[in-house]
Symmetry: C2
Subunit: 365 residues, 2 copies
């Protein structure tokens, strides 16, 4: 079997510094566990714009299509806020998602016991929380045509975006959610606004169809997305797997991540169809953003990006055992009390640096 | 001056029983404060469908256009879940909003001190919370064309909805937000997804334009809606007025309402342009829904609907003094420990009924 390949795209802000720690972890798996990777590195987002005038070059896009998995840090920052829409850092990320057809975005919202008190929610509401949000990632209002800003010829303008979902797009992400549920709590809650949007009606009907025809043994419920936002705040532990569209998934998964008090800890996987070698197209990235306010200061928490590599071990490289090893190491480090600044209350002593945290994880492996 | 007129639409589920209490309050203001209203009552939602086969008749629509303010209970329920989209109870409410052109939906998210412990969030995160969400209510993806479900002629279907915002639509709701901010904390935060949607770019630019040209003295910030969902969970007190579009406003205002622990307490006002008599077109309704699980049992909390009438006193009838009197009465009742079932922890003694609560408010007036 050929050596598996990884493309690393550190991106902007804290992306490069957290990725340095992930590379240490990758090297450790090569040296100690005989798990070698061919690693490439390239630019994305603002960094690619600075070098090439585009947030993602065709060359980088081609490389991403050719590897077994892509690992991304973060994109964006205020330096790029005034750029034209077409060359914003985010467009690089969206192009990767779209052209690799990464339709299932897996966002675990997990509350690490050592961090439960760090949540703005009461301990008993979040302790032990472990839900999985499956967000559709390649369609909906993010990508639908027509779109744009047009002049109305009377001095005004009209901003237009289109939500468009097909039967196939809904069914394939629903399948991903049911498959995950089978390995977890066996429950899926689907969220849309079928009371207001026809695309929500289709969403509900097609998810129900997949359930009735292919996964009748999994428990399925439906909830309006506004009620879903409420219930996530009120009693998040009622959920196991949530499946929802691109836009609702963006808001709901961020809210869910924040509930846990562990924002700097949360990874994500974006998966597409299987490639010739049987592995799914895949991109892994932390849920947090580029955090420009602390970039370059060695303050960032590398855990989310390290745990994103753990997801790669599980979903791309079929090494759930090694993924669990890495996840346990991160939990051990937390239990030891190692804390980057984001994991500390206001007066909590002196924080661990980005590299302290990375080193501690390696020591715990 | 002619007697001001009110159209009462109790609607479905707990709507009728909470509205009974509001009528007691209205009668009290007539008898004791010389504030008389001509009150009409009619059907909306599932109740209108049952009687007339449509969730809102043209006659009711015309009445709503002719009165000074509309007070609505709630619409919807599982009995109507399988109805066609066009006659769903929600369509009655959406028609009212659209034809009355109620573009500014004001949703205060306020944490009543006596209820702070009832929130799933820690007391210090929510105690004293008092934010105002201004949601655009007559445009965006709720109403944009084209929309529908179409067959793709290959056995599949496509669900389509369109988000469309014009310069004028954005500016008028932005003005409503800035006006409110001037009477409150003087700060507006506008939320969109300008990194992903062109309609979000237009939103950001037009809100900024209204600020720079008409309200430079108000502090304006912009936030992506996903980050907004996070920040509402993390530290909601950072906000004063939030202005956002119809769909984001639906999710964000529900999440904000749930934060307070006071869902059964929260009112809303939906305002349009001034009528000939200078009063804005207006509809008032509680944030909570029709709660079919407890309907008809005398368990519902009438406070949100009573406080919606207080908003009517303030925004439609220019009686901020009487609105404050009514709001204080509700707070007094809470401080006295009167609690409907929704305001009690699991083992909390025996709850007040819907009419107990209404009577207590009147006694406190
Ligand atoms: C950066 C941005 C384009 C992106 C999104 O909106 O999808 C982000 O918020 C996310 O959730 O990954
Ligand atoms: C009932 C429904 C149509 C409505 C909406 O989506 O606007 C409700 O959720 C609300 O927020 O008032």
């Amino acid at each position: 079997m050929p050596t598996p390949s990884l493309l690393i795209l550190p991106g902007d802000g804290i992306g490069p510094e957290v990725m340095t720690e992930v590379r240490k972890v990758i090297d450790w798996f090569g040296a100690k566990r005989g798990l070698s990777f061919e690693v490439f590195e390239d630019l994305v987002g603002g960094a690619a714009y600075d070098a090439h005038g585009t947030p993602l070059t065709d060359e980088t896009m081609a490389k991403a299509q050719g590897v077994d998995a892509v690992l991304l840090g973060a994109v964006g920052g205020p330096a790029y806020d005034t750029l034209d829409f077409a060359v914003k850092p985010e467009r690089g990320l969206l192009r990767l998602r779209k052209e690799m057809d990464l339709f299932a975005n897996l966002r675990p919202a997990q509350c690490f016991d050592a961090l439960a008190d760090f949540s703005s929610l009461k301990r008993d509401v979040v302790a032990g929380l472990d839900i999985m949000i499956v967000r559709e990632l390649t369609s909906g209002i993010y990508f639908g045509e027509p779109r744009g800003i047009i002049d109305d010829n009377e001095g005004g303008r009209v901003g237009v975006n289109t939500q468009r979902y097909t039967t196939d797009e809904i069914r394939r992400v629903a399948r991903a959610a049911f498959e995950l549920a089978k390995k977890r709590g066996n429950r899926v809650c689907s969220m849309e606004k079928a009371n207001v949007m026809e695309s929500g009606i289709l969403w509900r009907e097609e998810v129900q169809w997949v359930h009735d025809n292919e996964y009748p043994e999994v428990e399925l419920s439906h909830m309006y997305a506004d009620a879903g936002a409420m219930q996530l705040v009120r009693a998040p532990k009622q959920f196991d797997v949530i499946v929802t569209d691109n836009l609702f998934g963006d808001l709901l998964s961020d809210a869910a991540a924040m509930l846990t008090g562990s924002l700097g800890m949360l990874p994500s996987a974006s998966l597409g169809a299987p490639m010739e070698n049987g592995r799914p197209k895949a991109l892994y990235e932390p849920v947090h953003g580029s955090a420009p306010d602390i970039a370059g200061q060695g303050k960032a928490n590398p855990s989310a990006c390290i745990l994103s590599f753990a997801m790669a071990l599980r979903y791309s490289f079929d090494r759930g055992d090694e993924a669990t090893r890495l996840e346990r190491a991160v939990e051990t480090v937390l239990a030891q009390g190692v804390r980057t600044a984001d994991l500390m209350q206001a007066e909590g002593g002196s924080p661990a640096s980005t590299s302290d945290m990375g080193d501690a994880v390696i020591a715990a492996l």
